[in-house]
């Protein structure tokens, strides 16, 4: 918090120190004003560059058929064809894809967060031989390229009949969940005072009971972060559904969107409308739960 200011010796005394700090503050404040204006200018320009693709997407999605390839492009489509969004939804069985995506996303998120919190709790608050080695192993799997396990997974699932089911997209996350989620929960659970557990222990509570009735209720913010990260992961996932779901009726939105491209190759306005629709729930989630996004990332960064 307030680390000591080393360069000032004891003789100079606190008074001088306070004054010089105050002076420094004033000086910094004055020096910073022109810099802040420059920063604003730079940020506004860079932000416009970052927003430009979104604007381009929205603009294209509202254009009449054939107008999207007008050169030079018109930024404000006239007329604005909102029915493109309806056509994008009905051109492919998007509702079916949505239903599939939601089934996978919600199941995998709920189960994954549940088990990851239990594991994270075990790593954070219980003492047992081999714990630290196992936790290092757990973290090390972050380094593992998913494609290495994908090939044998595919071969195994083919043997046991899991191809063209949602199981390969749910099961690995049900068991242990994403390692990052375990890590997040552990970091958070370590900050809860140990006294709570010990008190409950004295009352004869088991570890499971402590996890369920003490730690989980105190961990709502980190659970929210984990759930959001999980939701986005499963919503956006592309490679695994691509490999494991070959049946037309099982496709997810991410896969469907890609097919949209091959089936409507030149219909950029519809394709952009469909892309915007897929982006919408994430956008809504982002603004509704913004603080959990940032919090989650910050907690990840803490490890340093």
């Amino acid at each position: 918090m307030s680390a000591n200011v080393e360069p000032v010796s004891a003789e100079t005394g606190t008074l001088t120190l306070d004054r010089s700090v105050a002076q420094a503050h004033v000086a910094v404040g004055e020096r910073r004003r022109p810099m802040h204006i420059m920063l604003h200018v730079v940020f506004v320009i860079v932000c416009l560059v970052y927003l430009l693709p979104f604007a381009w997407m929205l603009s294209t999605s509202l254009k009449l058929d054939g107008r999207e390839i007008a050169m030079p492009p018109e930024w404000i489509p006239n007329p604005a064809v909102w029915s493109n969004y309806y056509r994008a939804m009905t051109g492919l069985p998007m509702f079916l894809y949505l239903q599939n995506t939601l089934t996978i996303t919600i199941t995998a998120t709920a189960l994954g967060v549940f088990t990851a919190s239990l594991t994270g709790f075990g790593f954070a608050r219980l003492r047992f031989p081999g714990r630290d080695v196992l936790f290092s192993l757990c973290l090390a799997t972050l380094m593992l390229p998913g494609i290495v396990t994908l090939i044998p997974e595919f071969l195994i699932y083919r043997q046991i009949g899991w191809i063209n089911t949602f199981l390969p997209l749910i099961e690995p996350w049900t068991l242990g969940g994403h390692v990052l989620r375990i890590f997040l929960f552990r970091q958070y659970a370590m900050t809860i005072p140990q006294d709570y557990d010990e008190a409950a222990r004295v009352d004869g509570a088991s570890a499971l009971r402590i996890w369920w009735s003490i730690i989980l209720p105190l961990s709502r913010p980190v659970l929210a972060t984990m759930a959001i990260l999980a939701f986005i992961y499963h919503w956006n996932d592309f490679l695994r559904p691509l490999v494991f779901l070959q049946d037309k009726d099982l496709r997810t939105l991410a896969i469907g969107l890609r097919l949209f491209r091959s089936e409507y190759l030149v219909q950029w306005n519809l394709l952009m409308a469909a892309s915007a629709l897929m982006l919408l729930p994430i956008l809504a989630l982002f603004f509704a739960a913004q603080r959990y996004f940032v919090q989650g990332i910050v907690m990840t960064g803490i490890k340093g």
Binding site: V5, P53, I147, G176, N236
Partner: protein
């Protein structure tokens, strides 16, 4: 109420039995992960290693061929193309992401009005569904009707073929990753910057240090563990995360100029059903990632500054 009882209870408990019960409970809690690790990580890893020693087209049973797949890799010209492409994209993208993300984070760390709006805008692209943003960028870089060429036209510059030009395909992909790849490292940098004690800067001000000196001698060393963390995560991610982007936009083309490692493995396994060779490639990728991470950890000694006794 319970707190008063606690000390007495904790002392009264016999050490031995308590420990073994805790051991059982500990393993019970991490059991889901242990099972998952065995079934979905360690098991498949070993299986992949074994598969990499076979010739397996999936139509016929696998044939044991020893290290032939690895020898074949050394003679496969595409393997070298893939290595060069992957290295090009990763080694260009990761440092660029870190530099830009740090620059933006430094700016956002100032007490500006509206700083939250800027932060949101910079962070947002990183959370977008990659399929949607890949399609969006495919359209932006459309050689005939795309936004990128429309902008060049305004500046009176000749149009480019971007993703479809063999010399520009890789830089174009790096350019796209500059949109979605900044957000996460930026937020982590921002968190790190807010952990640098203000008193250090105040002390430096008293000593008359300029802003560059403050950055060089306070911000950079204090932030170096965070830079290191972002570097490790960035390198690992760059080898895996660009699959969707490249798969949607170029499919590795034109003329294999954007064929990256993970896409090549995917094609070998799920297009050519050359499972043995694909598994050998996958294990090689794993070893490369491992080696790069190891090198990063070794080099870290020379530049990462850990504050003694500092707590975060």
């Amino acid at each position: 109420m319970a707190t008063t009882v606690r000390t007495a209870g904790a002392l009264a408990r016999p050490g031995r039995r308590f420990l073994s019960q805790q051991t059982l409970e500990g393993y019970a809690c991490i059991l889901p992960w242990l099972l998952g690790f065995a079934c979905f990580v360690a098991g498949p890893m070993v299986a992949a290693l074994l598969i990499s020693l076979t010739d397996w087209s999936m139509l016929e049973p696998p044939i044991w061929i020893g290290l032939d797949n690895y020898q074949r890799m050394l003679k496969d010209p595409l393997f070298y193309t893939v290595l060069v492409n992957t290295a090009y994209i990763s080694f260009l993208a990761v440092p660029l992401h870190l530099i830009v993300a740090l620059g933006i984070a430094l700016g956002l760390n100032e007490k500006l009005t509206g700083v939250n709006i800027y932060r949101t805008i910079f962070y947002l692209p990183s959370q977008m569904p990659i399929v949607a943003s890949a399609l969006l960028w495919l359209w932006v870089f459309n050689p005939d009707f795309g936004l990128a060429n429309a902008l060049l036209n305004v500046l009176n510059l000749p149009p480019l073929r971007w993703l479809f030009d063999p010399t520009l395909s890789k830089p174009s992909i790096v350019l796209i990753t500059m949109w979605g790849g900044i957000g996460t490292p930026m937020i982590i940098f921002l968190a790190g910057l807010q952990g640098v004690p203000e008193s250090l800067y105040e002390a430096a001000n008293i000593d008359g240090a300029g802003s560059f000196a403050r950055f060089r001698h306070i911000t950079l060393p204090m932030l170096s563990p965070i830079i290191f963390f972002n570097l490790i995560i960035g390198v690992i991610a760059s080898f895996q995360a660009y699959f969707t982007l490249v798969f949607i936009t170029t499919q590795g083309g034109p003329a294999n100029t954007s064929l990256i490692f993970i896409l090549y493995i995917y094609f070998k396994a799920f297009r050519d059903f050359d499972m043995g060779y694909a598994a050998a490639l996958a294990w090689t990728l794993f070893l490369i990632v491992l080696a790069l991470t190891g090198i990063n950890f070794l080099l870290a000694r020379f530049w990462v500054h850990y504050e003694g006794g500092e707590r975060t």
